[in-house]
């Protein structure tokens, strides 16, 4: 049981290393990359924007109510923006990339695997990792980074709207607390998180997709597992990265 879990983990890491190496191998599958990039972007942009508006609002309302009780209402803007940029946005991106992009990648690779298309590729001396997995992982990473920007902006706008119009906050206080508490490294870590989450989502989806067990039902199971495994990994990695960031980068307000 434990040995099995360790073996799976080892193989997952081996695939990650293989992908990392194959990224630099020529020829790069540019067309496949563009197609996948477009596909993942098209299935994540709209849900991303729609999810981030209420999410930004929820955070603004919650933080606003809290700061009001503490008498620190003027810091609402900064606090909610930091929560959106650093935590909410990368996680929303991760859930979307894993749920919408990763599941599609996993299902696609899985059905190719059971139809022996991947074997056929290997037989022709073409590595499925280089031909199929690398463009997909890179596309997931690229979309994650860009989507993170979009979700951050939409989330902040949503937060601003709810704070100013529903909680009677002042625009000036919102913006000034923003620049008092937030700093550029907050944005960097946010984008770095999105990049890493995109990588993990792509790798896990590819790993489960390349190794489905049994026939079509195995593909369904693989998709299901890939999403669950990705979520578990992402929240764990997010914790580690947040902890590391808070230790390494001094807070601006302090």
């Amino acid at each position: 049981m434990i040995l099995g879990a360790l073996r799976q983990t080892g193989r997952l890491f081996a695939l990650a290393v293989e992908v990392g190496r194959a990224i630099f191998k020529r020829p790069f599958q540019f067309r496949e990359f563009i197609e996948q990039f477009w596909f993942i972007a098209s299935v994540t942009i709209l849900p991303g924007a729609l999810v981030s508006i209420p999410f930004g609002a929820v955070i603004a309302l919650q933080v606003g109510s809290l700061t009001q009780q503490l008498g620190a209402q003027s810091f609402t803007g900064g606090a909610s923006v930091l929560a959106v940029v650093q935590q909410a946005s990368p996680l929303i991106v991760a859930l979307l990339i894993a749920g919408a992009g990763g599941s599609a990648i996993c299902a696609d690779l899985g059905s190719r695997a059971i139809r022996e298309e991947l074997d056929a590729m290997r037989v022709m001396g073409v590595s499925p990792v280089q031909r199929l997995v690398v463009p997909r992982v890179l596309a997931a990473m690229g979309v994650a980074v860009l989507l993170n920007g979009l979700v951050s902006v939409v989330g902040i706008l949503g937060g601003y709207f709810f704070n100013v119009f529903l909680q009677d906050g002042t625009p000036g206080a919102y913006l000034s607390s923003f620049s008092a508490l937030a700093q550029l490294p907050d944005l960097y870590i946010s984008e770095l998180k999105a990049l890493v989450f995109g990588f993990i989502a792509g790798i896990v989806a590819a790993y489960r997709g390349l190794n489905p067990r049994g026939g079509p039902k195995g593909v369904g199971d693989a998709v299901n597992q890939s999403v669950v495994i990705t979520f578990l990994l992402l929240f764990f990695v997010n914790m580690v990265m947040t902890g590391g960031y808070l230790q390494l980068v001094p807070p601006k307000g302090g």
């Binding site: 298309e117 022709m124 001396g125």
Partner: protein, 334 residues
């Protein structure tokens, strides 16, 4: 000329289930070989092991000095470019048209211009008789057409070794006869080493130079076709006769009780004497003669004193009639 494939002591298991063990044989360069065996004896697993898709636990598969079992992945990928493998159901890429499917190896491995790729692909499409269907997706054509498209794709890189996984399954007898002729014609044109895995008796009787049979987790025999065709080994005789009486049961192997009951029961009359050996197919008119024929004659005549008497007699009969050149069998793809 094709490349010799040497298999030594190959053993493969899935978990605790042993598929076959200690398989040792040599596919002679440029000759056509057939691997027979009842369903579920690991014939496809054997093919996939030859090409390095599956890794047997023991043994070696040597091709040009590269061991497809244990060599580094990079060497294996390089060596695979010498292969053409025809999958059982074609294994075409579902998202690509037949043309793109067949052009795939060329686009991946060569720097040919698109016009030249088009020429080569259309040539292969014509060989397998799919002209007019090149724009279709694999989901839009019949199983037999997918199979032929898979064969065309396996052929575009002019492989030295061609492996066919059940080329007849899902085809009617006429199409099977065409495929048999096509395989022989290909051998005449490319002089490639070929291994066909099948349980079709017509292909087995007319196509190969060499035959082997997998049964009960081992290689029953492998050698010149006459050896297997004249073999009195119960499993081989039962299989070639297509009878129920014998060691092969519905679920691979019969138990002792079933065998004993069979022995006491009435047996269907068996044709007396040795089975008749059907002459091998010849390439279609207009094609060059198969270069493998002369090579094989020398090789087999050298082996002669080590073969069982029935096989020896059959070989001598074949070669006594001047290499047995029958009229070209019905159906020449040309």
């Amino acid at each position: 000329m094709g490349i010799e494939v040497v298999v030594e002591g190959l053993t493969k298991s899935f978990g605790r289930q042993n598929i076959w063990q200690d398989v040792t044989l040599t596919l002679p360069a440029g000759e056509v070989s057939v691997m027979l065996g009842p369903s579920g004896t690991g014939k496809t697993v054997f093919l996939k092991s030859l090409i390095g898709l599956l890794k047997p636990e023991e043994g070696r598969v040597l091709i040009n000095g590269v061991d497809m079992v244990n060599s580094p992945e990079r060497d294996i990928f390089e060596t695979r470019k010498l292969f053409g493998l025809m999958f059982q159901d074609g294994a075409l890429f579902g998202s690509m048209s037949l043309f793109d499917n067949i052009a795939f190896p060329l686009r991946e491995h060569t720097r040919k211009k698109e016009s030249e790729i088009r020429r080569i692909v259309m040539e292969r499409i014509e060989v397998v008789g799919l002209l007019g269907a090149e724009g279709k997706l694999p989901g839009e054509i019949s199983g037999g057409m997918r199979k032929r498209a898979g064969l065309a794709r396996a052929l575009v890189l002019d492989p030295q070794i061609i492996l066919c996984d059940e080329p007849d399954s899902g085809l009617d007898p006429v199409r099977t006869a065409y495929i048999s002729q096509l395989l022989i014609d290909l051998n005449a044109q490319l002089d490639a080493t070929m291994l066909i895995v099948t349980h079709n008796l017509d292909i087995a009787a007319t196509v190969p130079d060499n035959m082997g049979m997998l049964f009960l987790r081992r290689l029953v025999t492998f050698g010149p076709r006459e050896v297997l065709l004249t073999s009195e080994e119960p499993a081989v005789a039962q299989f070639l006769g297509g009878r129920r009486e014998g060691p092969i049961g519905m679920s691979e192997e019969k138990d002792a009780a079933a065998l004993a009951a069979e022995a006491t029961g009435t047996r269907t009359a068996r044709p007396a004497g040795p089975r008749e050996i059907v002459p091998q197919l010849e390439p279609s008119p207009g094609l060059p003669p198969r270069r493998a024929v002369t090579r094989r004659r020398e090789r087999v005549l050298g082996l002669l004193d080590r073969l069982p008497p029935a096989a020896r007699a059959a070989i001598e009969r074949t070669y006594a009639t001047g290499g047995a050149a029958p009229a070209p069998a019905a159906g020449s793809g040309a």
